[in-house]
Symmetry: D2
Subunit: 282 residues, 4 copies
């Protein structure tokens, strides 16, 4: 497929959904020049949202990370994260008791703000689990894998409680050459061992897109044909956007390499409407 | 878990979503006495929708099947089917050319009504596929499996087009003792052989529930806590409703047997809020 | 990886296992010049066997197809097929009653020769299944898919019998540009719907290689380091040979294209010891 | 199915293969009275082997654990473990360089005895991996999961080397009520993330049974109809023995509970020839 100019494509839409990692930022921080993209969108009155598989922090803290790097236009109301959907689920379905979590205290902070009682898996006592009414996989950091993943497997033998995966990603980059296992992979392993069916949130699931879409509608009515999803990954951003019925644009600044993009599209049958080198406008 | 009285549970909600097969009807037609249930709901001003994995006909024809059996209150606007979502996708994303389909002429009728140009896989000529811009799996009937499923596999080698599965069910009952393979299983086989990623519509996917929810909101504002999903299958109706954040009720008049319900809930970790013998009110 | 000369590699081994399709023959018949390869091997006293996923015919009929094309050195004792393993299983484990089969009469002929009582699925009466003690998937031809695959699903609801898959291949080429769905894919679909665990025979499973190895040992003692597997498919021939502990050679005359071989090896981690254009010696 | 008397069944065979965990021992050590079983077998000249998914130690150390508990008849030559097959593979296919391993020093000891150069993943330096020619998953203990599983994922991005799973079990009991995640589950997670195809050893794979069978043949010729596999798990011992073509006996002293055995056999279609309470003869 031909490589297109990002600005020319963006001009055709009223709203743009951006994936975060590989599109707006990488392991070094936000991409050089990405603030021009946002200035351009604001100038042209094109609205924008960050639609991201992330449950390591709440939306306020996620936005702050952009603001700290000079992108003050990425405010909390522009953030749609898989962690927000997981938290919404827990609020609706787990009305009492404690939510045990895997992750850092920071990842649990957002749950606590919304009134949920949380307990780190590290502090869980397997002889006293009666009050634990849900389990949530938030982040791959903040606990001892050897000890605490085994503890979870045994918790699920004791208690038939809902298990929520707040980020379905399998791995994520931590430097130019290294990746880390994401909490989605750990959740898949535990699901396999336990035989249970977990409740999972994150692209490509349509719920992410619908959550974003509903937020737009609250502000103004925009048909799906006026929305563009910009992402770096065929299997999450592009297939998810396609299925939701919006147009999709693949950037080559992250997971998908220019050298293999045509082969990948051919093999998977996942076809974006456009391909651009990156979302940076210079 | 305890078996509850359906009427007593229904009283607590403002809207009820019903699965069709195993809940409202079976291989013999609509369940004896199910019209009482609808009369009761109308009397109590509890709204209701049929949320069904079905792409064998459009919503009008699906409603007519109830009306023909005396349930005139199941009108077209009460029907939410996976086929409607698939058609909506095709309308938004396939703006020109032909949609090849597997299924009966009746299953394609709804696509044609919405302005799509369709071609039965039986009539497809593999030497003339340039105009085929999408493939949709609608129904397991209406084509020669030996010949036409092979034709599809070869079509996908020629054309990298979106493949839409309009009903993800694996099998369905055709009599008290026999089942038929559903189009979802055929689609899974072709997906496996082709290596492509198909776009799938049907419970437990959240999109079904959101489509229904959006229709309610158009009429009146109802919070999720006032909606109940009633289904006979843990893996579609109950896990789907749970994930969407609404309450769920499992009936024992279909797929799930009383003798194994506790074991199944234990093994899968999919827990409904309530269990009832059936949705019939007598 | 570098492309090597087949003759130079073959010289280093005492026994060579050949895959059939894509290595010795294609949709047009045996490869031009492949008889030179066999003459060379005989001259150098390198023994050879055909190790093939095929249950469409017994070993005698498989050999005859080579002999008919002038390769009289491919006699019955040189053939190791997945169908032979499946038949061996049925002989050992199904000591009485009838074996129902999907396939052509020709595919069932070999079972009958070994004393098994067979019944084509086309002739099976679902009201009279007491005598059916096993089901075997032999070939994708010889039955009506619409009618008979549904019949099998219902047979398995009535009878908890062993289900044997005599060829695990997913598809096979029928002309330069077209493929057909293989019986392995149909078996996978039925296994998925029924929830049962089927007994499967075919590369990459070690049993194929062990069967061949045992046949060699009966003639002469040869260590694994002296055996080479030659195949055209990473996922069956090469990974299977590697796991069995013998050296492996990938040819580019079948399933694997020269243009993508390095990428495929990189992505899958399945690494042959050698790559050659083909097994033809000129 | 009826529960049979173990002694009466054993009498009909010349060789018995025993699974270890759940059959001969549990978390407390060897089962009370199991020595009578061995005395009986020796008296009747029925040969026996332990066929076990275990790579935590070499065969000598595995045998010693029985001898230490008074079962001196379970000598090293009676042990067939998945770790032995994995080691055999590494000896044949990795002729130079270093084998990186996950596991305890004790688990690597057997590899070293056979002349392989090993390196614990804990000691691996990702900037110096040129000499690492294989990776083997031996045991879930002996390394830091947070740090070292991530290290493996990154090793596989640097080096396209064979990855060997020396025990495919998903979990194992550590006390009457608790289980631990087995190395097979960790390997599955890494395989999923890396996209590579791993080489796996362990029941139900036929290679375990063939290895045992070959050892018998070295001593005396015994047909498959005279061999019985005794195990506690349908998905490994029973399906594996069935596929290999030998008779199978399920004991209810381990993984499979009396209360659910009939349901499990019905759901999976995996049918043992016999069921006994345990392999203990009193």
């Amino acid at each position: 497929m031909d490589i297109q100019n990002f600005k020319a494509v963006a001009d055709r839409y009223k709203v743009i959904f951006f994936d975060a990692y590989g599109v707006l930022k990488n392991s070094m921080g936000v991409l050089d020049g990405i603030e021009q993209t946002f200035h351009y969108l604001m100038e042209r009155e094109i609205d924008y949202y960050i639609v991201t598989n992330d449950a390591s922090r709440g939306p306020k803290a996620l936005a702050q990370a952009y603001i700290d790097e000079g992108l003050e236009m990425v405010s909390q109301d522009k953030i749609i994260s898989s962690g927000m959907l997981a938290t919404e689920y827990l609020r609706l379905k787990v009305r009492s008791g404690t939510v045990a979590y895997l992750g850092t205290p920071k990842s649990a902070h957002y749950l606590q703000e919304l009134g949920l009682h949380t307990l780190s898996i590290a502090d869980l006592d397997l002889t006293d689990t009666d009050d634990v009414n849900a389990l949530v996989f938030l982040d791959d950091e903040g606990f001892d894998w050897n000890h605490d993943i085994n503890k979870i497997v045994n918790l699920l033998r004791l208690r038939n409680i809902p298990c929520v995966v707040a980020n379905t990603d399998k791995s994520y980059p931590v430097s130019a050459n290294e990746v880390s296992i994401a909490i989605g992979s750990i959740a898949d392993m535990v699901e396999q061992i336990s035989g249970r069916t977990f409740i999972k949130f994150g692209k490509p699931d349509a719920q992410m897109f619908i959550f974003a879409y509903d937020r737009i509608q609250a502000a103004m009515k925009v048909g799906k044909q006026h929305i563009l999803m910009v992402g770096d990954t065929l299997f999450t951003d592009i297939i998810g956007g396609n299925k939701f019925g919006i147009d999709t644009l693949l950037v080559l600044s992250g997971n998908t390499l220019k050298s293999s993009v045509d082969e990948q599209i051919h093999l998977t049958g996942i076809v974006p409407n456009y391909i651009c080198d990156s979302a940076v406008i210079d």
